[in-house]
Symmetry: C2
Subunit: 209 residues, 2 copies
Amino acid sequence: MALRYAILGQLSTTPCSGYDLALYLDSARGSFWCAAHSQIYPELRRLEEAGLIEGAPTPVGEKLEKRIYTITDAGTDALATWAAGTPIYRPNRDPERLQLIFADRAPLDAIRRHIEAHRDRFGRQRARIDDIREAILSREHVRVEARLRGRSGPEQELSLLLRDLAYGGDRERAALEVKWADRALALLDAYERDHVDVKRRKREEESRR
Amino acid sequence: MALRYAILGQLSTTPCSGYDLALYLDSARGSFWCAAHSQIYPELRRLEEAGLIEGAPTPVGEKLEKRIYTITDAGTDALATWAAGTPIYRPNRDPERLQLIFADRAPLDAIRRHIEAHRDRFGRQRARIDDIREAILSREHVRVEARLRGRSGPEQELSLLLRDLAYGGDRERAALEVKWADRALALLDAYERDHVDVKRRKREEESRR
DNA sequence: CCGACCATGTAATATGTTACATGATTGT
DNA sequence: ACAATCATGTAACATATTACATGGTCGG
């Protein structure tokens, strides 16, 4: 269901083509939902059939046509009802942590590389979110500005507050994962000092005799 | 792919029936992967066909039979290779935050209920993880103890370290979400004080004249 | 004129959820 | 006897990913 509402949400901000939506829902963009265009185009047709959106063919150049979709009143209602409902969660599935607990037989170096990659990943994510939040708060974020247009001061403030909470939560999570990775690496170092190095030194001592 | 390895991982700890695996991979259990039994039984047959596990029919009672699956050497290798590889992540999909940013037109009470539910959910999750970690560290966790059996002291220590890191990361995340929700509620209160209450007072003053 | 990007679709496959289906065992 | 739980499966549907497929537009 979430894809429907990710699309409706974006269309409630501004009309879009399927291509625009595919850019917005790109997995690399670090938004709250993502989907490939192969999933978006069929969903748009279903949404139009359900009367939640309306597509208008728009010429681009000489021969090409794109469909610009606009949300209908029914669509706005459906989105509002969904957004005001109880929060929706997906079951916890974390392949990264799953790998980690079954890496207890792997060489220490492999574990260390795993955690370093983790730190890098979330470090980059944190930086990306920082950029987005900065753009939003300095009122330079085009998509957010489009959403605020025509709203009263307090309405704008609430909209910005919720957005900052959402991105802020993600940012803190990314920061947490970076700190977690740093702590994990320190603990691995300590483990190696206590066990691997001790073993090696013993071996060296014995071979000297 | 992750389901394969979640199953192989559990079987690398101890042989299990499909039913056992379904309990272990229950979504309510707060593990790192979950799946319904309807997904598990077919996957077990595929794993057996691939030679990564072997099932032995075991009588239970008079007529009933269960298949107890054991990991093969090939399965152990496949798991080790997977676990030592670079970390695997799923694309970010967060229906809860998606709802939140499109709730900017919803009544404040609905937003507040949303965030309270969020706090409760992660509060419960944090408590559940605390229980698990305590059981692991006090060496009372049967599944973990099964995994440690027959290993040297340092090997056990590394295994426990990785598990504590994995659960610790999840615990911290749950704690973060609780703190986030508390802060969010405070900000909503402040927003209401500044805007909704002010508006109401103005209205009341005008009607008094 | 060529490469990057705009624009839209389908097909095949993989993964995940819900419902349907059946029957045995165990403890009270 | 009855309920809870053990035990295993299939079917239908929903969702997500990867690959295949086509052609136009725009700027350098």
